[in-house]
């Protein structure tokens, strides 16, 4: 299955899940936020493409970015913050580029900067639906060849939180409660902003897990997960230079 087809599946999944969450939660505001973020991302992406290519084109990745922003930002934030997040996300995709690829996960960049600049809140809608997100996320991770990223993340996150639980004599199974499944299975495995090679992918996931743990333990007053992802995005050009084993 080509990346393009996987993106279409992801759009369908995120769209349907948003619809289900809005209907079951009787939450029209959530759907409005998703719609505003999605339409804004589409418009800004088309504008950037037009400025570069003098052609109007709609991309799947802009739809995915808009949908993710709608899930992560709090629904009761004013609409202009969703628009700002979409502009920052799409702007970063077109402007901050290394080796002809965007450096940062667009949705993470847009939401994080909107929180930082405009004091927005997050809600991480659907983050609890592990029974939906784990199977679907595994499918997507397999299709975009990012299962090593997942393995790296789970290795570090489970290891560190388990060690902490043992030291604090806290319930060990409690550690599964710290994992944000939407973040792990939708955002962290984004194909364009993660490394290409196996060892690098594992190191990337490992780094994200370590940073999430450190930021959480430091009690930072910013979104630990988005910050961890963006910092590791910065390291991708370096990680891609890790020597690979033959055949890897």
């Amino acid at each position: 299955m080509k990346l393009l087809a996987v993106k279409s599946w992801l759009i369908a999944f995120l769209g349907l899940l948003a619809l289900c969450l809005a209907i079951t939660g009787k939450d029209a505001l959530f759907l409005s936020g998703v719609a505003v973020a999605l339409i804004s991302a589409l418009i800004f992406d088309s504008l950037f493409i037009y400025l570069k290519e003098k052609k109007v084109r709609v991309t799947d990745s802009s739809i995915i970015t808009g949908l993710i922003i709608g899930y992560v930002l709090a629904s009761d934030e004013p609409f202009w913050k969703f628009i700002a997040a979409a502009l920052l996300a799409i702007g970063s995709k077109h402007i901050i580029r290394v080796n002809k690829k965007h450096l940062f996960n667009p949705a993470a960049f847009g939401v994080f900067l909107t929180m930082f600049l405009f004091g927005a809140n997050t809600q991480w809608r659907g983050a609890y639906l592990w029974y939906v997100l784990i199977p679907v996320g595994l499918f997507f991770a397999y299709k975009v060849q990012k299962k090593e990223v997942l393995a790296g993340y789970l290795f570090s996150a489970l290891g560190l939180f388990a060690a902490q639980a043992l030291l604090q004599k806290a319930p060990l199974l409690n550690i599964f409660g710290f994992l944000s499944y939407f973040y792990i299975f939708v955002m962290v495995i984004e194909p364009k902003t993660t490394p290409v090679f196996k060892r690098a992918k594992f190191a990337f996931g490992l780094g994200v897990g370590i940073l999430v743990f450190l930021f959480t333990e430091l009690g930072v007053n910013f979104d630990a997960e988005l910050a961890a992802l963006l910092l590791m995005n910065l390291s991708v050009p370096l990680l891609n230079k890790i020597p690979q084993r033959r055949g890897a």
Binding site: Q123, A127, G177, L179, F202, D223
Partner: protein
């Protein structure tokens, strides 16, 4: 490498029989005692270190209007933050809507509404 990946993914799925909570509170259970005019709420927020990762604020509102805001500097347990708040000075009748909105110290919030019976 393939075996390691499969091992961790398998462990993760097999052991994962608990409901999962991310940074925002997963739920808020609200109860109102009309005799004592007391509001009780349990903000469910599972954490690994309640001193560093906790519910920092809870807003209480009546019929869409905020009436109180409580601050916390740590969480009482690994699983949730409890709060009791007296509504003695507020007139509450059947059908009124009380809401509690909990804010995680790191990121995320959740608002839940309760209709007085």
């Amino acid at each position: 490498m393939k075996k390691i990946i499969l091992f961790f993914l398998a462990c993760f799925i097999l052991v994962n029989t608990l409901p999962a909570y991310a940074h925002p509170p997963s739920n808020i259970v609200i109860a109102y005692d009309p005799a004592k005019k007391m509001l009780h709420a349990e903000i469910k927020h599972q954490v690994g270190n309640p001193r560093q990762h906790y519910i920092k604020k809870a807003d209480i509102g009546l019929n869409g209007k905020e009436i109180a805001s409580l601050s916390f500097t740590s969480q009482a347990s690994y699983f949730s933050q409890l709060l009791d708040y007296s509504l003695a000075e507020v007139e509450i009748k059947k059908g009124d809507k009380i809401y509690v909105e909990g804010y995680c110290s790191i990121s995320g919030k959740l608002k839940v509404e309760y209709t007085v019976e």
